[in-house]
Amino acid sequence: MLTLTANLLPPLLGALLLWTGAAKLTSRRLRAQTARTALPRLVRGPGRAVLVLRATAAAEVLLAAGLLAAPGAAAPAVGAALLGAGFLGYLGYARVVAPDSSCGCTASDNAPITWHSFARAGFVAGAGAGALTADEAWWTAVGDRPAAAVALLLAGAAALAYLSDGPEGRGRVRLRRLRLRLFGSPLGGPAGGDGTVPVEASVELLERSLAWETVSSLVRSGLVEHWEEDGWRILHYTGARHDGERDRPVSVLFALDAGAHLDRAGGQVIRVSVVDQETAEVLTGDLVEAAAGPPRPPLPLAG
């Protein structure tokens, strides 16, 4: 099996280099892509960086052609191993000087350098060295044991596709979408099913309400606590009321339908209470009237 693997390394490596090299050579947005990598800083200038990237792409295509057409030759294998080692060094440098930069490996990815990029560069270096141990041409190896060879090639191609896709790759997103379509969303509704309204929804409804507008000048805190009682949801805020010289702390309580939310047709009732925190005296009536100010004049209507 080891021999078969070594014999199949040249076509796998060749296909990978051919793809990455051709992608970079034919890319029309190479200059923009290069700007997102650490290469301009390494070679001091975006123009040079594009040249370096094109030269690397040409080398990749040449090496790929050598590996595919002349798998027994040592030069393409040694070249690929050196190229892989160079990639590793470059990635290490880029991780240190510009951690958020992209790899630029395939000319189409903008994802930052992750372990995927290192693993793929490591594969190029390792496979280049491993290809030196191949003892027969890959087409002969495939002809001798077609089933095992095809299985190995498919597994290798899948692993390389996984590494090339990056953490946010389109292929990965398609797979995840497919999984959701087949098995449904694991983030179902609430346990128990039924129209439980989140507290957030009650707060949202309250904060857009006339009740809130009426007493908001008293409220000094965010939501302190909440609980439910007989179908009502009670929301407790703290506040302050001006009493002579000083502010006295009060509890501002709102009671609203526990099942109400913004989308439910109007007519919800909200009850407002203000309770003095020190004396436990219910102050609602006068305080709400004072906080609400004078009655609103009717809106002017056309016609």
Binding site: S185, G188, V199, E200, E213, T238, L253, G267, V272, T284
Partner: protein
């Protein structure tokens, strides 16, 4: 969380019973969403009554909590200042949900609203711990979490019992099954410094 002794629990329920009866006996205001402060009609309404003078002095501070002594939090802001934030009995504290001062830890991020005191500290009336509000893209959905990308960073958003979603401007709902991979999502939640994930409180999609 510290267990509540039965006496404390009894006090709490007694207090809640009292507050509940006060709340249900309060002034009734009908038409919750008819004339809301954010409603277009509010633009035509009479000017709002002037707010309490203390409101104009309200200030906001942010920072990373470096020390907690009693109810006094010391926070280093991102601009290099040091803020001292005093918690009071009336301070509301949010850390993914309304909670108590015990939930605040050194290393947490702090966003506080309060009144400046003569000694330079801030008496807080509301403190939001580790609050984040991010524009992200949903990249993956799992049973109790989803994966988000935010700029060049990958984030894990954990669902908690309070997690609510709003689809295309609709009301908040606890049904998360309509989230889709690839959607742009605004996520409000509490950052967890321990593993750099986010407890998601609200996810808004379809805007």
């Amino acid at each position: 969380m510290t267990p509540i002794s039965s006496a404390t629990a009894g006090d709490r329920f007694g207090r809640r019973g009292f507050l509940t009866s006060a709340a249900l006996g309060g002034a009734t205001i009908v038409g919750a969403s008819a004339l809301g402060a954010l409603d277009a009609d509010a633009a035509f309404a009479a000017p709002a009554p002037s707010l309490d003078p203390a409101v104009t002095e309200t200030s906001f501070v942010e920072g990373r909590i470096g020390a907690i002594r009693g109810g006094l939090l010391t926070a280093a802001s991102s601009e290099g200042e040091t803020h001292r934030v005093q918690l009071t009995n009336a301070t509301s504290i949010w850390k993914a949900r309304p909670t108590t001062a015990d939930a605040i830890e050194v290393g947490d991020g702090l966003y506080a609203r309060g009144v400046p005191m003569p000694d330079g500290s801030i008496a807080a009336d509301a403190v939001w711990v580790n609050i984040v509000n991010l524009h992200t893209t949903i990249r993956g959905i799992h049973r109790d979490r989803f994966y988000l990308s935010h700029g060049n960073h990958e984030l894990v958003g954990r669902t908690i019992p309070e997690t609510a979603a709003s689809y295309a401007g609709g009301a908040l709902t606890s049904d998360l099954s309509r989230l889709r991979i690839g959607q742009a999502a605004q996520v409000l939640g509490a950052w967890r410094p321990a593993d750099d994930s986010i407890d998601v409180v609200r996810v808004t999609v379809g805007h």
